[in-house]
């Protein structure tokens, strides 16, 4: 008979817990150190962000037990007072949430025991309240059960206990148990039978339980969206600020001339295309851009983000989300160049942004004047162009004020290939069947070796190293903020 939990968990908030390497690997090494038969635990610090329908928690750091901090002679977790006191006192010196993670023995359910209830009530409702007021207290249980990494969790927040509905671990599939229950597997779909036979039914289930955020619904993004919808992803969050134009019709999957004639938002084109392909896929459309606050809220519950923006500010924002909010991302872009009537370059680039990966500045991807101009308001652009014209008349360098950029040309076969391959890497991460084994992959149609891989390193003093997992609490280390002149975000569902 199932035990009735002493702690009553509210299920009205969507609480998500995210973790990434190197803290995630360290965490697993720590709490499974007495596996398979005995438990172990560690305190942790978490960043957090309140979103309209929930809370996102991010593993920022571990505060592991030292010698004598926990009782080694018993099989379950027994924390000694000096360890608790040290964590509480240190919480006064930082702004992050405090939490406790412990393991359950192999094969056991990841459900809290009566001892766990006592422990969480003690820390969450009483002990830490005076030391970390107004912050969530997070409690997680991890176990290995029938080959799965299984997780359950709860958080004390604003005077109530809330169940953690999803634990998302960077490149590490898991099963999140909710309120002591293993969620039922979604029903198999005939459409994904070949994917199931190639990667297993378990992989197909992971796809159906997953959320993918796609930033940019143009040529590259629309191809990725189509691949993901056909592959059975359960939920898609798509961001794009633009309406469809005639010149997009060569590339954007799902677009028809009527969309261009009526200036239909690209997210609406994507929504209708997804509904036609996969009616069961939940679609969240956002007409807006990262890092607008509502756009961040929308993507933070995704397992993976796929960047298809071809903008410098978009890449900075994606990298920032990977580092501060532990949202793993693949960024895809294409480049087409020509001279004297001959195409000289056709390149698809894929960049991985994990929490530990270097940011676009560390990778020398940013051209500052281009980024400045991308972020300017229309008024400022107009003023700068006028200043440049005046400088030209005075015989001075106009580029101090404004530099005209040639239109970047691209073609549908290149954007479709890039989007589809990027979606493939996303599927690899979600299913756990393969990884993106590079920091940067460049595929060129015009060189015999086709593809090259680059590993890039981060500048140790760059802000991208400073606030991994700090979420909103690391706002002062943000690489970019949303310009106030951008149009307001609109939700499309």
């Amino acid at each position: 008979m199932a035990r009735v939990p002493e702690i009553v968990l509210a299920e009205d908030l969507n609480v998500t817990f995210r973790a990434a390497d190197p803290e995630l690997s360290h965490l697993r090494d720590l709490i499974f150190r007495r596996y398979p038969h005995e438990e172990w635990a560690t305190f942790m610090r978490c960043g957090w962000r309140v979103i309209p329908d929930g809370l996102v928690l991010t593993l920022a750091a571990l505060d592991p037990p030292g010698l004598g901090d926990m009782e080694e002679k018993v099989g379950n977790v027994l924390i000694r007072e000096p360890y608790s006191r040290r964590i509480a006192v240190s919480a006064q010196a930082h702004t992050l949430a405090v939490g406790l993670v412990h393991s359950h023995p192999q094969g056991f359910q990841p459900c809290p025991s009566a001892i766990d209830d006592d422990m969480d009530t003690y820390y969450g409702e009483r002990y830490l309240r005076g030391f970390a007021p107004g912050r969530p207290y997070v409690s997680l249980i991890l176990a290995h059960k029938r080959g799965d990494l299984v997780v359950s969790g709860r958080v004390w927040w604003r005077g109530r206990w809330h169940v953690i509905k999803r634990a998302i671990f960077e490149r590490l599939p898991n099963r999140t148990w909710v309120n002591g229950r293993r969620p039922p597997d979604p029903a198999p779909e005939a459409r994904t039978a070949r994917l199931s036979s190639a990667f297993s039914e378990e992989a197909a289930v992971r796809m159906r339980l997953a959320t993918v955020a796609v930033v940019g619904a143009g040529g590259t993004g629309s191809a990725a969206i189509e691949v993901l919808a056909r592959a059975g992803v359960g939920r898609l969050v798509v961001l794009d600020p633009d309406n469809l134009e005639d010149s997009n019709l060569e590339r954007v999957h799902g677009s028809v001339p009527q969309h261009a004639a009526s200036q239909t938002p690209k997210v609406v084109v994507a929504r209708d295309h997804v509904r036609a392909i996969a009616p069961g896929c939940e679609f969240i459309g956002v007409k807006g851009s990262l890092p607008q606050s509502e756009a961040i809220d929308a993507v933070l519950t995704a397992d993976v983000l796929l960047g298809c923006t071809d903008s410098q500010h978009g890449r900075l924002a994606i990298s920032d989300l990977a580092a501060r909010y532990l949202l793993p991302a693949i960024d895809a872009g294409v480049l087409l160049e020509g001279a004297d009537g001959v195409v000289t370059a056709q390149v698809a680039q894929f960049r991985r942004f994990l929490a530990m990966d270097p940011c676009p500045r560390c990778r020398q991807m940013i051209t500052q004047w281009r980024l400045n101009q991308e972020l300017m308001s229309p008024d400022e652009r107009q003023r700068r162009r006028a200043d440049a014209d005046a400088a030209r008349l005075r015989g001075e360098d106009p580029s101090v004020y404004w530099r005209d950029e040639p239109q970047l040309d691209t073609v549908g076969y290149l954007t479709t290939a890039a989007g589809a391959l990027a979606a493939g890497y996303v599927i690899g991460w979600i299913t756990g069947r393969f990884d993106a084994p590079f920091s940067t992959l460049e595929a060129s149609l015009l060189v015999p070796s086709f593809a090259s891989v680059r590993e890039e390193s981060a500048d140790a003093e760059c802000h991208c190293r400073m606030a991994r997992g700090w979420a909103d609490q690391g706002a002062r280390f943000a690489a970019i903020t949303a310009p106030s002149h951008w149009p307001e975000v609109q939700r499309v569902s």
Partner: protein, 130 residues
Amino acid sequence: MSVERISAELALLREGGVDAEYYPKQSAVLYRSVPTSGAALSLPLASHVAVPVPSGYPAAAIDLGGLPVGSPLIGRAKGAANGPVITIAGQPYQFISYHPYQNEGGVWDPSKHGFHTYYTWILAWLGCLK
């Protein structure tokens, strides 16, 4: 707008005795009583300077400098007075075409630079009046 970041940068300046304040409504920082090289030119020895927070900050580089409208320093400090005017605490400021990170040799690095280091550029600007 990165309020947390700008606040931290200005706190660093205040530790060094520099009076600077962030005005979110105007999206600008006001450096108060910045010394000038005006003594030999019979010009003011100090001036308030307004600097706009660039769109997307800190992704975009800090740029421009604003002097009080009607200030005798306008035309004596480098750059044309062709920018917009903003009003802070009742005082209008004229933005001057001063671009340290575009034609003064500065390379913007948001991990190192900010409104705390931009003060040095403002000092240099008002230290070279003509």
